[in-house]
């Protein structure tokens, strides 16, 4: 049951977006997320929607697949909408018992719901089009420019790659341990929260010990091959910055400027400014 599980959401289609350098995609996504918080009218959200739609089409990822990504956030979005709708003071539009809906509340609720949805879609396009290993490589490069984090950039990226590699192995290990404990009469399916937490212990202890054994074996293997950290280390797969990356960075700057310009539009769209 645990074996054929895919961790991560990478969806390969071989599109232009997939071929972009991970660093370009990380920069683009960061710029996108920051810009989202500056939008102040529906024109901006309309522009953002168009940008996301274009990128989605280019990436050849099925739209349904992307929309499914929002499902996990439906509760938070609903909470946001309800709280904003009823808690914002302003011109009353409708009254529902003790609750009042205001025009301002309607406006803020729409904006926040759209912002959350775009935030999630924007970041999930990055994880859908970039394999986790490429992503950690890109992150290592980006982390080199962040003060303090810089000292551990290589170690952090290395840990992420090893962890990604070990998740399926440990998954199998867990399944084996669970079966072994079930054979000894352990019961994992029933009970309240306390007894379920207690049932975790006979799985966790052997899992930790076997994980640490694997870690030690890996460390020995790495040291036998003279691994000594990030300095002067060469890579089998080099990241390369191509023409398409330059072009998309130019587009990114245009996107930032364009989105910023929308904040100055005074003509109202749906809601009075």
């Amino acid at each position: 049951m645990l074996k054929d599980v895919t961790i991560g959401q990478y969806y390969p289609t071989g599109s232009v977006i997939h071929k972009l350098d991970p660093r370009t995609k990380i920069l683009f996504t960061t710029a996108f997320v920051v810009m989202l918080f500056f939008l102040n009218n529906l024109w901006g959200y309309l522009a953002t929607f168009l940008i996301l739609a274009t990128i989605t089409l280019l990436s050849k990822i099925p739209v349904g697949y992307i929309i499914r990504g929002i499902k996990g956030l439906v509760l938070i979005i609903m909470l946001t909408v309800v709280l904003n709708l009823f808690m914002t003071p302003g011109t009353v539009v409708a009254t529902l018992g003790p609750l009042t809906v205001t025009l301002e509340g309607l406006k803020v609720a729409t904006y926040m719901a759209l912002r959350l949805i775009f935030l999630v879609i924007g970041t999930s396009i990055m994880t859908l089009t970039t394999s986790p290993i490429d992503l950690t490589d890109g992150m290592e490069w980006c982390m080199r420019y962040i003060p303090f984090v810089r000292r551990y950039a290589h170690e952090l990226a290395m840990m992420m790659s090893i962890a990604l590699r070990f998740i399926p192995t440990l998954m199998e290990e867990t399944e084996r341990i669970m079966k072994a404990q079930k054979a000894r009469g352990a019961n994992f399916e029933t009970g309240n929260i306390i007894s379920r937490a207690k049932n975790l212990i006979p799985i966790l202890i052997p899992l930790f010990i076997s994980a640490f054994r694997r870690a030690d074996e890996l460390a020995t293997a790495m040291e036998a091959r003279c691994y000594r950290g990030g300095e002067n280390r060469t890579r089998m797969k080099q990241l390369s910055f191509e023409f398409r990356d330059g072009a998309s960075l130019v587009l990114m700057v245009m996107m930032i400027v364009g989105l910023y310009l929308t904040t100055m539009i005074q003509i109202p769209l749906v809601f009075p400014v």
């Binding site: 599980v5 961790i7 991560g8 959401q9 990504g69 996990g72 956030l73 509760l75 938070i76 909470l79 946001t80 709280l83 904003n84 808690m87 914002t88 904006y111 926040m112 912002r115 959350l116 935030l119 999630v120 970041t123 999930s124 994880t127 986790p132 992503l135 551990y152 170690e155 952090l156 290395m158 840990m159 992420m160 090893i162 962890a163 990604l164 070990f166 998740i167 440990l170 998954m171 867990t174 929260i193 306390i194 937490a197 975790l200 212990i201 966790l204 202890i205 930790f208 010990i209 994980a211 640490f212 694997r214 870690a215 030690d216 460390a219 790495m222 040291e223 691994y227 000594r228 950290g229």
Partner: protein, 189 residues
Amino acid sequence: MKIKTKQLTQMAVLAAMSILLVYLIHFPIFPAAPFLEYDPADIPIFIGAFMFGPLGGLILTAVVCVLQGVTVSSASGIIGILMHFFATGSFVLVAGNVYKRNRTRKGAVIGLALGAVTMTITMALWNIAITPFFLGIPVEAVLPMILPIIVPFNLIKAGINSVITFVVYKSVSKVLGLEIQETKIAESK
């Protein structure tokens, strides 16, 4: 702090276990707030904090938060990554520091208890500070949720994870301690 190769691989498998545990086990504690889910992801991180000290624990927290953000719980995106980092990070800094100064059973208990309290306070404060910004909700709408929902949720979550960490760390360190001694004997020969 210079990370040795062995520490690096140990931290990496701990991170992998953390991702695995969130993937396998997560369920809401309160039916009223189904978006607040319990998950045992913090257990390997707490054990890492005991083994490698507060800074190592913090590095491990960062690795897990980013990996979790791009793999299993990508729906919560940036908000999830940041909140998880602040919550677990504050726990790890306190528990790691206490245990570093007092490497006994008593030190572990005090560290975990103080860590759980710190994490609860941090999460209450960050929920007041960050949630209005991200969700656009007025602060007055968040405040009534802090005491009845956010505080007990974090206390229960950190409490369960602390107790499991304590039990697991005791036996794991016993086994690992034996293994370390064995290698030492092997080296001295």
